[in-house]
Symmetry: C2
Subunit: 240 residues, 2 copies
């Protein structure tokens, strides 16, 4: 059974304010909950219609009915499980490997896709400006497909952190150097900007390199979506 | 003024069945409507709260109020204009340049992003299996950001068309050859599969090459989103 106070807690965690206050976040779906249970992220409570699907401590798991799951779920079609997990404390960023930095990315789907891309390309540190959408937003978590469990995500003053990082900073712009002609080192920071405005002037000023993806053919598209552009830059960085 | 029969027509065009019947589709937003007005696609009617924004024949444009726009719009926050355009007749696919083929891509956002990517990378022919989501679906159009105006999109029996195409067919799989080690020719077909199931066995059997994007680091992500994977493959094909 799910009691009223639990429902209230779960619903409150849809808002960033309460996620920060309780230091908890909610994920749904068998695949993502399993990924998180396998990870270093601490579980708080797992509500499921089929506890045989999850190999965890009995005290953590609560068998519920379909109807109860519908009550607590944020999805139109709930998928067997809703888990509450503790927001991990961010670790210091390791600048000896590549880092992705986001300057006010605002769309949850884009952030989720970027997290999944970082995981694919073996980048475990993601630095987000304070105005970047919260990575524990349910829409972000859905798009990460569990990759969030393997990432160290830090929200901080982007300018201050970048200014003090002793590695090249590659800002992505419409008028930068052709990224196919750029040599990438063993380490560096790839900065991606806001969907509408790109990288802010303040951050632009401290980028050591400005790079672009060239147009081809008679293309008149003004820009690429930030998540697909990130895919192309990470591919360039890793392909060698 | 927008009369009842017009509202009825516009609302009906949310459904593929009526789009096919009338051979019309709806787009919203200043940028996308402008792109379509500049293109070869024929305009049927433009409803706008500010006709000074559009340089078109008076007979095509209808000045309406904010309230009327809200009545006909499919968006939460309508953006000054709703245009109705004629669905263009697809042209024969030109296989002398690269072609992207989609085997049952079902998510409208993914299709829209792929159309925008094709436009960016100078690929003007997109071949879709009959089960691929309709490219005149409003969510697809929103994600294309106007690129739809510059693309030739053909829905056909994928197997029959590919079987008869006299160019290499590059299927994308989890277990294919490293795409960074693949030479790409001047022409070919890049096949992308369904979000959940990938490329079907029938299409797999006629691919001349099977390619993959390699994992990096300790990544455990199972797959990339089809739109971000398309971004990486198109970048590889064009970068030379």
């Amino acid at each position: 059974m799910v009691v009223k106070s639990q429902i209230k807690l779960i619903k409150s965690l849809l808002q960033k304010k309460y996620r920060s206050q309780h230091s908890l976040f909610v994920v749904e779906g068998v695949k993502t909950v399993r990924e998180l249970l396998k990870s270093d992220i601490l579980s708080y409570q797992v509500y499921t219609t089929d506890s045989s699907l999850f190999n965890v401590d009995e005290s953590l798991i609560q068998q519920i009915t379909e109807k109860e799951l519908k009550q607590i779920s944020n999805l139109k079609s709930p998928n067997k499980v809703l888990g509450i997990f503790e927001i991990p404390k961010p670790k210091t960023i390791d600048f000896s490997n590549w880092v992705v930095a986001l300057d006010d990315v605002s769309d949850p789907g884009n952030l989720g896709t970027i997290i999944r891309l970082c995981d694919w390309f073996g980048i475990s540190n993601l630095l987000c400006s304070k105005n970047t959408v919260d990575c524990y937003n349910p829409k972000v978590l859905q798009a990460t497909m569990g990759s969030i469990a393997r990432m160290n995500i830090v929200y901080d003053d982007l300018f201050n952190v970048l200014k003090n990082a002793d590695v090249p900073i590659f800002g992505t712009f419409m008028d930068g150097k052709n990224c196919y002609k750029q040599d990438f080192n063993e380490s560096g920071i790839l900065v991606m900007g806001n969907e509408a405005n790109g990288i802010s002037n303040k951050i632009d000023a401290i980028c050591t390199n400005r790079i672009s993806i060239p147009h081809f053919g008679n293309s008149k598209t003004e820009s690429l979506n930030v998540a697909t552009a990130t895919a192309i830059f990470l591919s360039e960085i890793r392909r060698g």
